[in-house]
């Protein structure tokens, strides 16, 4: 679970190392990555909106 989140975060940032990539492609389930991606995208939107609301005060 933590490994999946770490990989998705790395994808958000745009940098992933070769070792983790191999591991993800051998062990991970695609559904887990898609779900984590959607969930973290929602988190990103909420965080950006919160920052914008605080900054606009």
């Amino acid at each position: 679970m933590w490994e999946v989140i770490k990989s998705v975060l790395a994808a958000f940032f745009g940098v992933q190392n070769e070792r983790q990539r191999h591991r993800d492609f051998q062990h991970g389930k695609p559904v887990a990555f898609v779900a984590a991606g959607i969930a973290l995208a929602v988190v990103l939107v909420v965080v950006v909106a919160a920052v914008a609301i605080v900054a606009a005060r």
């Binding site: 940032f13 745009g14 940098v15 190392n17 070769e18 900054a55 606009a56």
Partner: protein
């Protein structure tokens, strides 16, 4: 040593050239408002950030190309990834972008805050002129190009403000916050005056807001910045910024003149004064399409000189000028011109350039039709 000195001199003369070029009118103007200065300094900050990044990136690249060339026995490295380098070169641009976005957003917020304005001006784009209305002050007028056609056609030398001159500039007070409400009667135009850092689309059916607080009296020129048809280049903007008390005097004079014009509706007008007034209105409003000599530009803009259909039907003529012709570029002028101007221009069109209808249309007749 000598080499690096030459490099430094080269770089120095490049920077010197760059800044003198910037001062010579190639750069955007600093402008005469708080916001315009903020925009200018943002622009310069971002420009210099780009220059530094460019120098660093291309410097590293050219140095590497030169220092590690094959003729000196360089062997290419063969590795796939380096996570820490990748993290660094992703994080640095992210920080630079956020660093640029913060001041830019602060300025944008200021630009889009037209609250607490002391004067509201409705700006309406029309093909191809601007109409200004000082809301709640009973003053409104149309501002048309005043550069003579002879200069456009090359029969006369072009003057300094070629295509940047109007018959009636927009007069604004210095030191007061003025809110603009921008809209359009026909197609999308854009009201752009670089020195005021205002560039706002005027869109039919929408009212866009913008504002300005001018700090120095002066003449500021601009242009329509949204391609709007045949005479897009012929609808300049001139803003005359004056001291606040001078503005108040001007506004009072305009209000008096408007009141006098309104009272002119009730009296009987003579042919000569109608023709005189009509020629003025025709030159400022109608001549761009129907031509100063009434010859038009077929097929889009019909000739008015010798137009029998028009001359034989006064009611139709009045209807066309007041209400426009749908499906053609002919706009409705009932809202733009007052009854005196409408009566005068119709009279003029019926009696100029060899048209001899003899009709003198009275402002009171038009007034009755407008009600």
């Amino acid at each position: 040593m000598r080499k690096s000195l030459a490099w430094m001199m080269g770089a120095g003369s490049f920077l010197g050239l760059a800044s003198s070029t910037l001062a010579n009118g190639w750069n955007m103007p600093v402008g005469v408002t708080d916001v315009s200065r903020e925009i200018y300094s943002l622009h310069m900050t971002i420009f210099w950030i780009c220059v530094v990044i460019g120098i660093v990136v291309f410097g590293v690249m050219f140095y590497s190309l030169f220092r590690y060339r094959r003729s000196r026995g360089a062997k290419s490295a063969n590795f796939h990834e380096n996570t820490s380098v990748e993290v660094v070169w992703t994080a640095i641009p992210l920080l630079i972008l956020v660093g640029m976005a913060l001041p830019a957003t602060a300025t944008l917020k200021r630009m889009y805050d037209p609250s607490e304005a002391e004067l509201d001006v409705m700006v309406t784009g029309q093909q191809w002129r601007w109409h200004y209305e000082y809301l709640g002050e009973d003053v409104s007028f149309t501002s048309s190009l005043s550069t003579p056609r002879s200069q456009v056609n090359g029969e006369e030398e072009k003057d300094e403000n070629y295509l940047l001159d109007v018959d009636e500039p927009l007069v604004l007070p210095v030191g007061r916050k003025v809110r603009f409400l921008m809209t359009s009667d026909d197609v999308i135009h854009s009201w752009w005056v670089p020195d005021l850092a205002v560039k706002q689309d005027s869109i039919p059916g929408f009212v866009n807001e913008n504002w300005v607080r001018i700090e120095e009296p002066g003449i500021y020129r601009g242009q329509c910045a949204e391609l709007c048809g045949k005479d897009h280049a012929f609808m300049p903007i001139v803003v005359r910024a004056v001291e606040a008390d001078e503005f108040d005097t001007w506004l009072a004079e305009r209000q008096e003149a408007a009141a006098a014009e309104a009272s002119g509706v009730d009296r009987e007008w003579g042919m000569d004064e109608l023709m005189e007034r009509g020629e003025q209105v025709y030159g400022s409003i109608c001549a761009t399409c129907h031509q100063p000599d009434g010859s038009g530009a077929e097929p889009t803009f019909p000739a008015l000189a010798g137009n029998e259909a028009l001359l034989n039907d006064l009611d139709r003529h009045i209807d066309v000028v007041l209400n426009g012709v749908s499906g053609t570029p002919m706009a409705a002028y009932r809202g733009n011109l007052n009854p005196v101007e409408l009566a005068a221009v119709i009279t003029y069109e019926r009696n100029a350039w060899g048209n001899e209808s003899g009709d003198a249309v009275q402002p009171s007749e038009i007034q009755a039709l407008l009600e």
